[in-house]
């Protein structure tokens, strides 16, 4: 009996901070950044990178109601959904969404489809908050995983929590000051709240980082590509809106150099370049 009590005591003693979800304050190394003081960060050591990737995969799976992302053509689906939901985004794309099941005709596949999830569906709006824990964990496991902050901030904003989103993104900015993606997401948040001057400030910082093209701002996936387009489009749009057509034309010209397929930008540049708003 005494053994059980002592084991119970030790377990409770160790797990109380985790149970209460309190980030441990690091009184001995106060110079460490906020994320490094978190219990999760300290517990998992160098495994954190792998765990952050796993948390991202879980987040994507949750968004697809449990459909494994390796299974069907779901890669990039969340990214397309992000582009789609960015209201006022001039580059809004239609999301051709497949809802049909793709199951082979053999017996094993049939059996597998009865047990595992094979239907490609998305969470309803009421259930969308279910993805949040995974992006939170992604950022906690690896505070330098920019995607975790961007997606966490995006979902908080989408769920109508701009203040929480801003707090989370600012934390991300503190851990990753050279990330154009995080600056873009903060700029977008200000833009949605009609804080145009602050939005321009963040988009301008993001623009400079995209132009230098150094890590972590290399465009190697659809998420980064979409964010870069978003930065330049919104910045150009805001310059237009605030009566700075020449600056807008310059921003669109830079965007065109990255995205030469967007020929409609040429008309815009021509119009703005002549001072016509």
């Amino acid at each position: 009996m005494m053994k059980i009590v002592s084991v119970f005591y030790v377990v409770i003693l160790l797990l109380i901070p985790a149970l209460l979800n309190i980030p441990l304050k690091n009184y001995f190394h106060p110079q460490e950044e906020y994320a490094q003081q978190d219990l999760i960060y300290r517990m998992f050591g160098s495994l954190r990178g792998l765990l952050a990737d796993w948390a991202f995969i879980k987040g994507e799976e949750y968004y697809h109601s449990g459909l494994p992302i390796r299974g069907l053509r779901t890669a990039g689906c969340l990214q397309i959904e992000m582009s789609k939901s960015r209201e006022g985004h001039p580059e809004e794309r239609e999301h051709e969404h497949e809802t049909e099941e793709q199951v082979k005709s053999d017996f094993y596949s049939n059996l597998y489809s009865q047990i595992k999830i094979t239907q490609h569906t998305h969470l309803s709006y009421a259930e969308e908050k279910e993805v949040l824990p995974w992006f939170y964990l992604q950022a906690r496991f690896n505070p330098h995983d920019i995607q975790g902050y961007v997606l966490g901030g995006y979902w908080l904003r989408r769920l109508g929590k701009p203040e929480e989103a801003l707090r989370f993104l600012k934390e991300g900015e503190a851990c990753n000051p050279a990330s154009a993606q995080i600056l873009t997401e903060i700029g977008a948040l200000y833009y949605k709240q009609k804080g145009y001057n602050q939005a321009i400030e963040y988009f301008e910082r993001a623009r400079q980082l995209w132009l230098t093209g150094k890590p972590p701002n290399l465009v190697t996936n659809d998420y980064a590509s979409s964010d870069r387009i978003y930065t330049f489009h919104l910045l150009g749009y805001l310059y237009e809106k605030t009566g700075k057509p020449l600056l807008a034309a310059q921003v669109y010209t830079e965007l065109y150099s990255f995205e030469p397929m967007r020929t409609f930008l040429l008309d815009k540049i021509k119009k703005l370049g002549t001072g016509s708003n």
Partner: protein, 241 residues
């Protein structure tokens, strides 16, 4: 039959004598408290996240208990030399294997049922009625079949390996089959433990599994379990103790 029962009860007593079960039960309570109290961005009550964390832990812990008990039984009897008095009763070697398997099976059922009841109660406390009850029952039943499957495999391995490597190999078999099963060349010819895992369906509150699938998996699990026990008997019968 009585001899098998006596051997099985000897194994079951070990569950209560050892402290592993109580410790794991406490750990599950702690995990439930942690997952239940999780909050982010002012949001609480993440039902799917809660089910994912708790159910994953329950599945893993139940497999760990089944494998660790199954892998210890025969080597422990040989090491302590108590096998000589058992086999001189007389008890056949086949009865001995079946008795040990029955004991591990009962342990697996007892421990997994306790964990699962705690899980169901936690769902009720959180007022989460999203998952169909029949699906929860199917998930429970298939996990019990999986525990029989993996226990018989560990008993077979215990005739060749000491407990520590046996546990490692059995757990690799379990996790490998669940995570990489489909990506291994010729996977169709290997045992499919991934088919007994209804976790995703339970977490994402999907529809129930058809009866023919449950029936097929029951026959599938029984066939593999008998196959592993038969192989164990063939090996053990010729073993010079």
């Amino acid at each position: 039959m009585k001899k098998i029962f006596v051997i099985a009860m000897g194994v079951v007593k070990e569950l209560f004598r050892r402290k592993d079960f109580y410790f794991i039960l406490l750990l599950i309570f702690a995990i439930i408290l942690y997952a239940g109290s999780f909050s982010f961005g002012g949001e609480r009550g993440f039902y799917r996240y809660f089910k994912e964390i708790v159910l994953s832990m329950i599945y893993i812990f139940s497999v760990v208990i089944a494998v660790s008990f199954a892998s210890r039984q025969i080597p422990m009897e040989i090491e302590s030399k108590s096998i000589y008095s058992l086999l001189s009763h007389p008890i056949g070697r086949g009865e001995f294997i079946v008795g040990k398997f029955a004991g591990v099976g009962i342990i697996s059922i007892l421990s997994f049922t306790s964990f699962y009841i705690v899980f169901i109660i936690s769902l009720l406390v959180r007022k989460d009625y999203s998952t169909p009850w029949l699906l929860l029952l199917e998930g429970y039943y298939l996990q019990i079949l999986l525990l029989f499957f993996i226990s018989s495999f560990a008993i077979l391995l215990s005739l060749f390996l000491t407990p520590a490597p046996n546990i490692v190999v059995s757990l690799l078999f379990y996790f490998g089959s669940n995570w990489f099963g489909v990506s291994i060349p010729g996977y169709i010819y290997f045992p499919h433990l991934e088919l007994f895992d209804l976790k995703e369906r339970v977490i994402h509150a999907q529809s129930i599994v058809p009866g023919w699938v449950i029936l097929f998996l029951t026959i599938y699990a029984i066939c593999w379990t008998i196959f592993f026990l038969y192989l164990s008997w063939l090996v053990f019968r010729r073993r010079n103790l």
